[in-house]
Every structure is written in structure tokens, then in C-alpha cells.
């Protein structure tokens, strides 16, 4: 096994182990606050669990998946060994050290601050140092990706950057820029307080910096799914990619627009001007465009594949697709969840509509459906596709894999549709318990019971993932066909150089950040009206 494959396998192995542990916590959280369980006598346990669940699934799991995908893509597109694998391993171990430091602090109850870094609530120093190490570890990965990309560009000056590599580079550049906000917040605002060097913290500035990271991080999580949509699904379905150029345009739009829009998380913050809230709402609307382009391109590619396989009719061609392949099935299920979740997202980002669902369970439902559903189901499919190539052991239980994907899909809908509904009914998020005997909450109770049962389905599905991966690695070694990426139908049409490189787009991303975030950040240096005494949870 070459070094890049070993890196990918290690990253993904740890990622899925962490994932399974965090899903157990998630299912527990849903159960204990549902009417199926008496009120927790110790609410702190609930917040401790939310912190662990969110930190693992928000920072550790997707970061490891994207990093692993980066190495796997390098191994399959570069036609030569990975450069800088020493740095890559160093990054991995930093990430592991950070994860351990953060999870021990959380487990000891010294960092029950939820996974969003919103002061004045401040946890243990070791929690934040752990998160910093995770982020720094991922920066090592960005460096390795950049070095390999530049080397490839240097040695292949006239060639088209393979689309999978282009996608991974989009993720690396987006992450590099977007992780900066939370990193600045932790280093300059939170750590001085957590260390006890400072007594007050500028909560407004901290929230602003966190919003810098908070939205684009979701696109960083999302990009592996988009990379799979563009480069794997069409090929596995039996056809070409409808448009390589459209794929690049979508990736670039995500790079440019995903980050300078985070103030839509602060619509209820009084210190942020309404003009900037509106500006960010407009640009949040812009990220709908690459999503629609992706759905269009993907469906077009699938239709071509289906017709090549003999599919006919206006819609009957859908039946001709090889739904037995986990990647195709996952793509179909992912698109359904993306459509539902995306519609909900448009409500979240609308400056006026947001007020009706701000900080309700609707928001939790939205991001679980988009990320936990549409994106994570593609992580499973990627694992099923890459695992045999990385280990040399073919996937032993394809039918179990299909069952797992269906179970995840159904479970996620059963969890999140009720959350959307009770959110509209006014249920606040992040509560350790609800009073089900109160007439107002009583109407929500049946929905909450249903969603808790959905949590059980997700738990079973997550268990199946581990079983499938472990079983496959214990089977008989066999020749696995090498990974073949889909090529665009327009692969012979010359590509503008701007669509084959990132320079101008990075400049545009930074410029838009300055316009959209410059004043909202700078205002905190003029008006210090949001500085408050810190509230340390770890003593």
C-alpha cells in the first residue's frame, strides 16, 4: 500500500470510529429529552453530550473525511507518489492529539460550552487548545495539498487539472480561509480568558469571528459530496459527466460565495447593522446558484447514463439507473434530502423569514438534514467506493450497504421532519428538557417521540457502517478494479485558464470578505459595547 492510501485509510478509519461514538450520544440526547424519558436530573450531562456530539461531528469527523479524500484523490490522479507525506502524518497526529485533549476535557465536564464558540461561556483551556490542534493539523493537510497541486501544475503546464483534484483544492482553499475566523477568535479572544489572563471578553466580536467560519465550514463538509457527484456518480451510473465546465463553475462559486455570508447566523444580534444583515442575506442567496447548477448537471449526467443503458421516456429512464450500486443509490437519496433541506435553508437565510424560526429546532432540523443527511450519506458511499481500493479487500456486503443507506435516509427524515415542524411550533433548540405537561409543548410531544425513534434508526444504520467496513477488511483479498473518474462530455473543448486555476478566485474571495466583513469586524474596535465578563464553566 502506498503512503497516500495508508494516509487515506487511517484518516477514514478514525473518522468512522469517532462518528459511531458521536451518533450514540446524539441518539441518547434525543431520547432523554423526549416524552419517552423522565427529565434528566442533571442537565449538565445533556450539554456535555451535545458538546461532544457537535465537536466530533462538526470538526473532527468531516475534517478527517475531507483530508482522507484529499490523499485518496492525490493517489489516484497524480500518477506519482504523494509529496510531503511526512507533513501529512504530522498533521494527522496533531489532529489526534487535539481530539484527545478536547474530548477528555469534555468528558470531564470541564468544557460543556456546546460546540459553537460563543462567549462569555468559556470552557477549559485544554478544550480550546485541542480544537486549535485539530485546525492546525488540517492546515498541514492544506499545505500538502497545495504543494502537490503546484507541483502537478508545474509539471503539466498545458493540462486540465483533474476535476477531483480541482474539487479537493477548492475544499483546501476554502477551509484555509474560513478556518481563520474561529482560529482568531480562539487565539485572541477565548484563550486569554480561559487562561485567566483577562476577565472580560468581547462577545460581539467573538460571535462575528465565529460566523466567519460557521457557514463556510458547512461547504467544506459538503464538498466531498459534490466531488462524488461530479466525478464518481456519473461514471458508476454508466455515463460521462454532462459538463466539466459547469462543475468547475459551481466549485468556484462555492469558493467565492460560501465564506463572506456568515452574518446570516447573527440575524438576531442587535449590535450588527441591518444593512450588513441584508447584504449577507443577498450573498447567501448566491450560494443557492452553485447548488442548483450541481443538481442540474448531476441529473443531466444521470439521464445520459440511463439513456445509454436503454432508459426511455420522459421520466421512466430513472428506473434504468443501476440503483444497486451504493454510490448511485446514495446520490439519489442525497439529492432528495438536499432538495428538502435546501428549501428549509432558504427560509433560514431570508432576512425576514428567519425571525420566525431563529434558534428553534427548525435550525437543528435543517443542518441535520443537509449535513447529516445529504452530505454524510455521500461519505458512506465514498467509503464503500474507496475502502476496497485502499484495503485491497472488496466490499463484502453490497446488499447490507444498500440497506444501511436506506436506513440512514429514512432515519434522517424521521428525525428531521418532526424537528422542522416543532421548530415552526416554537420549540427552542439546545434545551436539556421540555415540559411535556405544558399544553403548549404537549402538542409537540408526538412529533418528538417520532424523531427520537428516528434517532434509533440512525443508530442502527451507523452500526451497520462499521460492520460493513470491518467485515470487508476481514474477507478474502481480491483484485479490485482501479478507480475511474467520470470525464466531462466537453473534455475536448478548450477550458479558459481561469477555470483551471484559483488565483483570481482567491483574490475575489478575499476582496468580498473585506467588503462584507470589514466594517462589521472593525466596529468592535470603535464601539466596545459588547465586552462582557467571561463565564467560566471549568473551575
Amino acid at each position: 500500500m502506498n503512503n497516500a492510501n495508508r494516509l487515506a485509510l487511517t484518516h477514514w478509519g478514525v473518522a468512522f470510529a469517532a462518528f459511531a461514538a458521536a451518533v450514540i450520544l446524539g441518539a441518547w440526547q434525543m431520547f432523554v429529552r423526549s416524552p419517552l424519558h423522565p427529565w434528566l436530573s442533571d442537565a449538565e450531562l445533556y450539554y456535555r453530550s451535545v458538546t461532544a456530539h457537535g465537536t466530533t461531528l462538526g470538526y473532527v469527523f468531516p475534517t478527517l473525511i475531507v483530508m482522507g479524500l484529499g490523499y485518496a484523490v492525490c493517489a489516484t490522479t497524480l500518477d506519482r507518489p504523494l509529496r510531503g507525506s511526512g507533513w501529512a502524518w504530522a498533521g494527522f497526529w496533531l489532529l489526534i492529539a487535539g481530539t484527545l485533549s478536547a474530548s477528555v476535557s469534555v468528558a470531564l465536564g470541564r468544557a460543556s460550552v456546546l460546540y459553537t464558540f460563543y462567549p462569555p461561556l468559556t470552557g477549559s483551556v485544554f478544550y480550546y487548545l485541542g480544537v486549535v490542534l485539530v485546525v492546525v493539523g488540517s492546515w498541514f493537510w492544506i499545505g500538502v495539498m497545495l504543494a502537490n497541486y503546484w507541483h502537478w501544475k508545474h509539471t503539466h503546464p498545458q493540462e486540465r487539472v483533474p476535476l477531483a483534484l480541482f474539487g479537493v483544492m477548492t475544499a483546501a482553499l476554502l477551509w484555509g480561509w474560513t478556518s481563520l475566523g474561529a482560529a482568531l477568535e480562539i487565539l485572541f479572544l477565548i484563550l486569554p480568558v480561559a487562561f485567566g489572563w483577562k476577565a472580560t471578553v468581547d462577545a460581539g466580536l467573538a460571535r462575528m469571528l465565529f460566523s466567519w467560519t460557521l457557514h463556510a465550514i458547512v461547504y467544506f463538509w459538503l464538498l466531498p459530496a459534490y466531488i462524488a457527484f461530479y466525478t464518481l456518480t456519473p461514471k458508476i451510473a454508466g455515463g460521462p459527466l454532462y459538463s466539466d465546465r459547469m462543475a468547475r463553475v459551481s466549485l468556484i462559486m462555492i469558493l467565492v460565495f460560501a465564506m463572506p455570508i456568515g452574518i446570516h447566523h447573527l440575524f438576531a444580534d442587535p449590535q450588527v447593522g441591518s444593512g450588513f444583515k441584508f447584504l449577507h442575506a443577498v450573498f447567501t442567496g448566491m450560494v443557492v446558484v452553485p447548488t442548483l447548477l450541481t443538481v442540474f448537471t448531476l441529473v443531466a449526467s444521470l439521464e445520459i447514463a440511463a439513456r445509454l443503458r436503454g432508459g426511455r421516456g420522459l421520466l421512466r429512464w430513472v428506473a434504468a439507473l443501476p440503483w444497486k450500486r451504493p454510490m448511485v443509490l446514495a446520490t439519489g437519496l442525497s439529492l432528495l434530502m438536499l432538495a428538502l433541506g435546501g428549501a428549509g435553508g432558504i427560509i433560514n437565510m431570508s432576512y425576514a423569514l428567519n425571525a420566525s424560526i431563529h434558534n428553534t429546532q427548525f435550525v437543528t432540523g435543517h443542518f441535520h438534514l443537509i449535513y447529516g443527511g445529504a452530505v454524510v450519506i455521500m461519505y458512506f458511499a465514498l467509503a464503500y467506493e474507496f475502502w476496497p481500493r485502499l484495503t485491497g479487500y472488496p466490499l463484502r456486503s453490497p446488499s447490507l450497504a444498500r440497506a444501511q443507506l436506506w436506513l440512514w435516509f429514512v432515519g434522517m427524515l424521521v428525525v428531521t421532519i418532526p424537528w422542522h415542524v416543532v421548530g415552526l411550533m416554537g420549540q427552542p433548540r439546545r434545551m436539556a428538557y421540555y415540559d411535556w405537561s405544558d399544553p403548549q409543548s404537549a402538542a409537540q410531544a408526538p412529533w418528538v417521540v417520532a424523531s427520537a425513534l428516528g434517532g434509533g434508526l440512525l443508530l442502527i444504520s451507523a452500526g451497520l457502517v462499521l460492520i460493513i467496513l470491518v467485515r470487508s477488511a476481514r474477507g478474502a483479498r481480491a483484485q479490485v478494479e482501479p478507480l475511474d473518474y467520470a470525464l466531462g462530455m466537453d473534455r475536448n473543448v478548450p477550458l479558459p485558464r481561469a477555470l483551471n486555476s484559483f488565483g483570481v478566485w482567491v483574490v475575489l474571495m478575499v476582496a468580498l470578505t473585506v467588503v462584507n466583513y470589514g466594517y462589521p469586524i472593525a466596529q468592535h474596535f470603535f464601539f466596545k459595547n459588547t465586552a462582557v465578563p467571561a463565564d467560566l464553566v471549568a473551575r
Partner: protein, 276 residues
């Protein structure tokens, strides 16, 4: 080829710039006027859209001295002062306290609270509040007036190290374990233990029932007002008389098997009665 880079990059950048200009025009010029129901001056519209209001600038609106409930602020400096309290020095100072609070921090009279094994931060805060006059008591203000910060920390350290009074193990009322969300009442146990220990909050288990009752009544009446953010005043104001006595009995009287816990059943009952 070189020209095409510039064309694609440039046209995109111009498109984004146009979007920025349109969004700014709507968000900063048209919207503030539309929201106010009339066109304000250009300058005030811009300020409002940028989040600059009359309240911007001042770190916090100045409050009258009466509105500030306590001079104690839970900064790391305060915590370090309390942690550095010297129990031995405090023990010498505590001779004065023994008359009412007992030599071992457990007094004979129902009027005076037991101090033994209270968290040092809670003891320090009350001494400091008596010292600054934020908590009113003719007796305690007189004693605390002459104490220095260090002496208050020493006394707090001394009483914190004494063995705790016996606490009962009755069934806690619902108000203690889960509060009453419908009335916005947080669980007592969330700050006063065992669920959580809010810095500066006293331990209630084993405290004298009459004292707890008197303090809840004083908070409800607003005669005691040294609770930060009016937390205890807001809670006590919502409590019914029978709930106050049930809580006092649970915390103070639970030790005596003779007085059965009235909490669980009665608090849940009364809370259900008033729902509509």
C-alpha cells in the same frame, strides 16, 4: 489564452461588484427608510444600517448605584483572592462570629444561617455585600464594615473548611430538580447543587428552614436585593407561599424524619392546578 483569463476573471469580478453595489443600495439606503415608515436623513439611514445607534459607543449605559446589586464581579482576580484566603487567619477572626453562628459554624438560633462548609465564594460574596451595604442587615453591616477584602477571604476560607451540618435525604420537590419551565423557573439544584454549582451561590442542603423561608420572602418582597441580574428576586416573586415553605422544609427540615417531604406531590399538584 492569456486574454481569456482576464476576460473571465474580470467579468466575474464586475458581476460580483455589481451585486455588492445593488445589495448595499437596498440594504443601506432604501431599506432603513422603508422600515422606519418614512425617509430618514441619508446619514441616519446609513448609521442605522451599519448598526450604529444612540447606544453605540458607551461601554454600557451607566446605572444608578441602587440598580447595581453587588460590588462583587466574578473575575479571575476575585476568584484568586478567594482561593488565596487563609483559613487559619480566618479562624482567629471568626471568634466574633461564634456568638450567633456557632463555634463550629452551626448556630443555635433559627434566625441565623449555618456557615459551615458553605462554598468560600458564597461566604465571601455575602460578606462583601454587607461590607458595601448592598445587603442590608443592621447586625452584619456593622461587623463587615471594618473588614478588608483579605479578611473577608480569610473568613470565607475558614468557614468553608468546617464540617457540614447534617442534611436529610427526602424526596426533592419538582421545583428543586426541574423547576417549572412554564413559569420560567429554573431548577434550584441547577445553581445550588447537586446538579450544578453556580459560582457565588450558597449550598442549601442542611441550611436552616426558617432562614431559607425568610430569605425567599425577602427576595420576593424586594427587601433583599443583592442577587446579580435579579435572579433570586425573579424566582422568589413567582413562588407561591406553600412552595416557599415546601422548599424551606425540604432543604432545612429534610434532616428530621418527623417532617415528611411535602415537596414532590404538593409542588407538582399546585403547579398543575394553575395551568390553563
Amino acid at each position: 489564452m492569456g486574454q481569456r483569463i482576464d476576460r473571465v476573471g474580470l467579468s466575474w469580478s464586475l458581476g460580483v461588484a455589481a451585486l455588492v453595489i445593488i445589495a448595499f443600495a437596498v440594504g443601506f439606503l432604501w431599506m432603513p427608510g422603508a422600515q422606519a415608515g418614512g425617509a430618514p436623513s441619508l446619514w441616519s439611514a446609513l448609521c442605522r444600517a451599519a448598526g450604529i445607534t444612540a447606544a453605540s459607543g458607551a461601554p454600557a449605559a451607566p446605572l444608578g448605584a441602587a440598580a447595581i446589586p453587588s460590588e462583587v464581579i466574578w473575575t479571575p482576580t476575585t476568584e484568586r483572592l478567594i482561593v488565596a484566603g487563609d483559613a487559619a487567619r480566618g479562624s482567629a477572626l471568626a471568634a466574633t462570629c461564634a456568638g450567633c453562628h456557632g463555634a463550629n459554624g452551626i448556630g443555635a438560633s433559627d434566625q441565623f444561617p449555618d456557615l459551615a462548609a458553605q462554598p468560600a465564594a458564597a461566604l465571601y460574596k455575602q460578606l462583601s455585600d454587607f461590607h458595601s451595604g448592598k445587603r442590608v442587615s443592621p447586625i452584619m453591616q456593622g461587623f463587615a464594615a471594618t473588614l478588608t477584602e483579605q479578611q473577608m477571604a480569610d473568613l470565607a476560607a475558614h468557614f468553608a473548611t468546617l464540617p457540614a451540618p447534617a442534611a436529610g435525604a427526602g424526596e426533592p420537590p419538582r421545583l428543586v430538580t426541574v423547576g417549572d419551565p412554564a413559569r420560567g423557573l429554573v431548577a434550584c439544584a441547577a445553581c445550588h447543587g447537586p446538579m450544578g454549582h453556580k459560582l457565588g451561590a450558597p449550598e442549601l442542603a442542611g441550611q436552616k428552614a426558617a432562614y431559607i423561608q425568610a430569605q425567599l420572602e425577602a427576595f420576593a418582597a424586594g427587601t433583599r436585593r443583592n442577587d446579580i441580574n435579579q435572579q433570586m428576586r425573579a424566582i422568589a416573586h413567582e413562588l407561591r407561599a406553600e412552595e416557599v415553605s415546601a422548599l424551606a422544609q425540604y432543604y432545612g427540615g429534610a434532616a428530621k424524619p418527623a417532617s415528611p417531604p411535602q415537596g414532590a406531590a404538593s409542588a407538582a399538584q399546585t403547579s398543575a392546578d394553575t395551568r390553563h
